[in-house]
Symmetry: none
Subunit: 414 residues, 2 copies
């Protein structure tokens, strides 16, 4: 069964408000086996709404819309839907009863604006709204089933979960969209593409695709089908993807780099300390986002000034003078000083030029030095990241975390 | 001029990834006077992409698309666009030169996957991408102008701002959507609503509405019209909103709390140091996101363990033993110790229970103590934030930054 998701609202079309409903609706529909083929976002204009409904109903079995069911005059989803169905609006008894009950329980008179909300297309059904005035609408345009939900986030989520999804479950013939995501770091997208080439052929099943998320490459593996059937298919592909991408794989699904690092620290019973310069606290902030990290993270120092590098981390002033703050000797001294002072098993450090200014021909914007110190010694690496200040810092923070992950992984193997 | 915004990607249609580009593109187009009539999101399927381009070009003067320009086989925007134009793909010399230069500067061979990115529809033009491999595409379908940008966030934003928007500016009819956003922190949405009540009447022009963004209340003031005309309208409302909301207002437009703090530090020529516990580096990371902050941020310490609070900040062990880490005496000692050791003019500190575990009846999850120390003394405050770990930490970091802002603002007045 094919589905189209509609969002209705001027503030969405103009970009003043971010549409998060379409993604939520699409995930919910996919999970019960519908194939979402398209989203569309249209203005609060009656004729635009009507033509969006007509277009969607012509190509899909199910149309799920949100927005435009409020009490004000710019809420025109009911009118647009009626036009697309070719019927007039009429007062819906169930909707009116809901509105009257709502007014009574809130000890308010039922306003004229609210009364508009009881006018539904002839032949449609009111969908209950337990938490607001805007009743939903269930209708048909030709053979397509149409559901309209209010745009208010809590009301939409409740109506989707309690009314719309249950009424579609079972219709979808036991098929579902199953997904596995293999997350990687440190391998270029083109290299991932080369290694996975045959798996990514457009007509292959399962479908394998890559997506860049926060400077990392995610490999999505997904297929429609019966649950047992697709689970086995996805498992085989996930194993193959992991094998081809090796150490670049840090986790699956929604696992973040910091969660992967925290899990590895817990597994190895190792503690870590962080000395940050250009990432400015981001490495620590990512680690602290993981509940329970206090057992493994001793402390972090954001030594943003040269003076702080000397005083807090024991970096010799001479190194800063001779090599500059963004250099291999300084980053090594930062990591070693941090490890000594904190008593942690590992210390990771970074220093770099996040931009937009401060670059030079020898050290262009994006240059970051990293060091990792542990009982086996200290390793250093230099990267040149592209992107703006925020991207450079985010990538640098992930790089530092990944160094910890790889070091602990190697240790596990030796 | 009418515009349609397209987003291309299976992970968007299925809801695996939230589409934020469409809103960003729509705002940018509206700001230069285009009327955005519709967004559409389609799958990475060649025929779906082609028909979306055809549909959009039939009804709009400008079509702006993002996504599907990567190197892998599931990136099919180039193919879909060529089909909609009725032309074949061919190797584009400018695109190839860009890819070769990119490979050289990154000291990598040009992979076969990357070479695909030079194949553009015949008759189209490559749009430069200064930060990635995916060149954009400018083309025509009939009379409609079409722009395709990569889906990678930083690359899309840069190409939109530097290439697409400039080439459209001046084309539009002289009417524009003008928007002013007044950003506030620390005042409840219902209080903001009460204070702005009359301005928020639905049929009033300009339209005034509130939106919660990252725990802050933004007040949007917007109107469609001729530039001079709407600018004066918005200016009057913005002044009124600022007056009614007082010190809760920290900035306008895209100004972040950290930018507001950095600007105030620069204005007062004051330096700051940060001692973080439950925010775990987030306060520092937010400050370091502002270019040039190195002149005002001395250093930060993430004293996540009790031991680190003693060793790095000089918090007396007895205070930790008697009052616990989440307490007023400890947070005061953290701020004062940080100020003493760093030599900064101000030091701000936090310690709290970010959750999900670690709460108690006396100190429930979300309890955070703050302190601010400067030459005038030390102030402390306690808040109980709601939300999950990430929200509690983000709100706490903003609260700490806001303390610095308010202290410096008061100082400016005395």
């Amino acid at each position: 069964m094919r589905a189209v998701v509609l969002s209705i609202g001027t503030e969405l079309v103009t970009g003043l408000r971010l549409d998060t409903h379409s993604a939520d609706i699409a995930r919910a529909l996919s999970a019960v086996g519908l194939e979402v083929v398209r989203h569309e976002t249209v203005d609060d204009r009656r004729e635009d709404i009507a033509s969006a409904f007509r277009r969607a109903a012509a190509e899909a079995d199910v149309v799920v819309a949100s927005g435009g069911l409020g009490p004000t005059l710019d809420d025109l989803t009911r009118e647009g839907l009626a036009d697309a169905m070719g019927v007039p609006l009429e007062e819906n008894a169930a909707a009116l009863a809901h509105l009257e009950a709502w007014a009574r329980s809130h000890e308010r008179p039922l306003s004229l604006s609210n009364r508009r909300q009881a006018m539904l297309p002839r032949g449609s059904r009111a969908i209950p709204n337990p938490v607001g005035t805007a009743v939903g609408v269930a209708a048909r345009i030709g053979r397509a089933r149409v559901y309209c939900m209010p745009g208010v986030p809590g009301e939409m989520a409740l109506m989707l979960a309690e009314e719309v999804v249950p009424s579609l479950r079972g219709e979808a013939s036991g098929r579902m969209m199953a997904l596995r995501t293999v997350r990687t770091f440190g391998m270029a997208e083109s290299v991932v593409g080369d290694r996975l080439g045959d798996l990514m052929a457009p007509d292959r099943r399962p479908h394998v695709g890559t997506a860049v998320r926060g400077g990392m490459i995610d490999v999505h593996i997904y297929a429609f089908g019966r649950p047992d059937d697709v689970a086995a298919l996805l498992e085989a592909d996930a194993r193959s993807v992991r094998g081809r991408l090796g150490d670049a794989v840090f986790g699956e699904g929604e696992t973040t780099m910091e969660q992967a690092v925290a899990a590895t620290l817990a597994d190895r019973r190792a503690t870590v300390a962080v000395a940050e310069s250009c990432t400015g606290g981001l490495v620590a902030a990512k680690l602290v986002s993981v509940p329970g990290i206090s057992a493994y993270l001793v402390e972090a120092v954001v030594a943003y000034s040269d003076e702080s590098k000397v005083r807090r981390l024991g970096v010799p002033e001479e190194l800063l003078r001779v090599h500059g703050a963004v250099s291999e000797p300084v980053v090594r001294a930062m990591a070693e000083g941090m490890r000594r002072q904190s008593g942690a098993d590992l210390a990771v450090a970074d220093t770099g030029v996040a931009g937009p200014t401060g670059g030079s021909p020898a050290k262009p914007v994006g240059t970051v030095w990293f060091a990792l110190a542990d009982a086996d010694g200290t390793a250093a690496a230099r990267e040149i990241f592209t992107g703006d200040r925020a991207l450079v810092r985010d990538r640098a923070a992930n790089y530092a975390l990944n160094m910890v992950r790889l070091r602990l992984a190697l240790r596990g193997r030796s």
